[in-house]
Amino acid sequence: MTRPASSQKAIVSSMRIMLTRWIVTGILVILAVVTLYPLIFTVINSMKTRAAYSADPLGFFTDLTFDNYIETFQRMQVPRLLLNSLITTAGGLVLSTVAALFIAYAVTKLKMRGGNYIFLFIIAMLVIPSQVIIYPLYETILDLGFGGTYQGLILAYAAFGLPLGTYLLSAYFRAIPDELIEAARLDGAGDIRILFSILLPISTPAIAALSILNFVWMWNDLLLPLVIMGGSDKKTLMVGVALLSGQYDVSIPLISAGLIIALAPVIVVYMLFQRQILSGAIAGAVR
């Protein structure tokens, strides 16, 4: 008597597990649609003609066109803005990483007195966001003669990327045994050589995580380039998109093409480094 009952119970419970699994998958699918749909919608719109869009704004495209991309390229001066974004992002990224490398090396490996205080001072700068000091920051950059220049934005990016970089690299350097450095020193290596030809290669994972994080925020940032570059021809792609969307004669297919152009580089980076980004190195890094 007990056997059929227990097997029935097993069937019921396995059915319940199946059902929950389906419900869970269903919820996850709906959420994935919610996250992906706005992108798909924008891609579709960017390939519609103006007439096709006003006839059916929500539908799939009837005849595919790339005219919006061509027009956006000219109106937004995409090659120029792309170059501006690349220069400022790369500059900010490299400068903040190099500055962070030097500080991390000094406070973890050079046994400098007060090193902890310097470390604390740098990471404490995290509490000063650009939004609350935006005008005085702009004034300072003007006073230094960097208003509307690449250097101005690069230096600001470097300063704002520094606290996290210093923290990440210091944590990484600390895990590297001091014996390695002593051995190199006995071989006659100087500090610069130790830092760049021994510690740097070992820290590639940390630098990769840091670079991805910095690339994403510097490329995507609006406030700093908007204020520092204004409407000059050195403005970044994000400022260009923001200004384009403010013009009243811009059609939705046109602005959609601009959006896709602006986010394409980040999507490429995401696809290339998906494994590193999603493996938790980055979320773990920020933590």
Partner: protein, 311 residues
């Protein structure tokens, strides 16, 4: 001009270091920390000090500023748009439980290796890497009166809900917060997942064998284990609502209708650059700074404890 004096004194310190009784290592260490210190001081500390000074000045358009004591702070305290902006921030904070719980539930589902979890993880994180300004412009179309959202609502028989989202004071703030959540929750999922990776699967399996349901597992086993990750994520969301909304507001509503979606950081920007009242803008910035600093001090404290030299 205290900040200029501060700047001028910097090279002196390096000169002091050059005196022979200082060890060579100390000199090298000083040289190494110099570029970073210069960046932090020039572009963070100095602007902050200048901001504090500026908040005590009376600035009218392009005229020379004059010292005005606490006048800007008094104006700020009686300015209805300042009140509105902080009230709006409070309303946005009321949605924090969703910001904290939703990614946790999703991360826990993915952690249990639900079929397709890798795809879902990649999909959920995608919005986070898209520039907020792009997100904002995209959602202006999605939320338009004849946009896809309202089309879906009408199609599933919820036509009364198909409103002009960005035109009603409450719905606009709600929409802004929801769009921010859309672009941000994926980072939460990843953060929780990296926290969960330290939880042994045996603990979860054992609890399951004991007949624990999903919610029981989550509330009694996972949440206590992830207390510090949840705390960290809550801090991140709080500062996100305070200082990461600028591009979204800029693209979606420009603060409107009225002041319904003006958050303090946006008010700093408009007061400074549109109404050209830099003194008042600086004062509002300082008020915002106090809140941001209080919140992010937790993160800094934790980073310091983890990253400083143990003796």
């Amino acid at each position: 001009m205290a900040e200029l004096a501060n700047l001028a004194s910097r090279p002196n310190r390096a000169e002091v270091a050059r005196r022979p009784f200082i060890r060579r290592e100390t000199l090298i260490a000083l040289l190494f920390v110099l570029p970073g210190l210069a960046l932090a001081i020039l572009f963070k500390l100095v602007p902050l000090l200048r901001g504090i000074w500026l908040s005590f000045l009376e600035t009218r358009g392009f005229e020379d500023p004059t010292f005005a004591g606490l006048a800007n702070y008094r104006t700020m305290l009686s300015d209805p748009s300042v009140h509105d902006s902080f009230r709006n921030a409070l309303i946005a904070f009321a949605t924090l439980p969703v910001w904290i719980i939703l990614p946790l539930v999703l991360a826990f589902l993915l952690f249990q290796k639900t079929p397709g979890w890798k795809f879902f993880r990649a999909a959920f994180f995608l919005p986070y890497i898209i520039a907020p300004i792009v997100v904002g412009i995209m959602f202006r179309q999605i939320l338009a009166p004849d946009g896809p959202l309202n089309a879906v609502l009408r199609a599933i028989g919820l036509a009364p809900l198909a409103i002009e989202w960005l035109n009603g004071p409450t719905s606009a703030l709600l929409a802004l917060t929801a769009v921010a959540l859309w672009s941000f929750f994926g980072l939460g999922v990843l953060t929780y997942l990296s926290g969960l990776s330290t939880v042994s699967e045996e603990v979860v399996e054992a609890a399951k064998l004991d007949g624990a349901r999903f919610w029981q597992l989550l509330v009694y086993i996972i949440m206590p284990l992830l207390k510090s990750v949840i705390g960290y994520w809550a801090v991140l969301c709080t500062s996100g609502i305070l200082i990461w909304m600028f591009p979204l507001i800029y693209a979606l509503t420009k603060g409107g209708p009225g002041t319904a979606t003006v958050l303090p950081e946006f008010l700093v920007f408009t007061t400074t650059f549109q109404f050209l009242d830099r003194g008042l803008g600086a004062a509002i910035g300082m008020a915002l700074f106090v809140f941001v600093a209080l919140v992010s001090a937790f993160v800094v404290r934790r980073m310091y404890i983890e990253g400083s030299q143990r003796k």
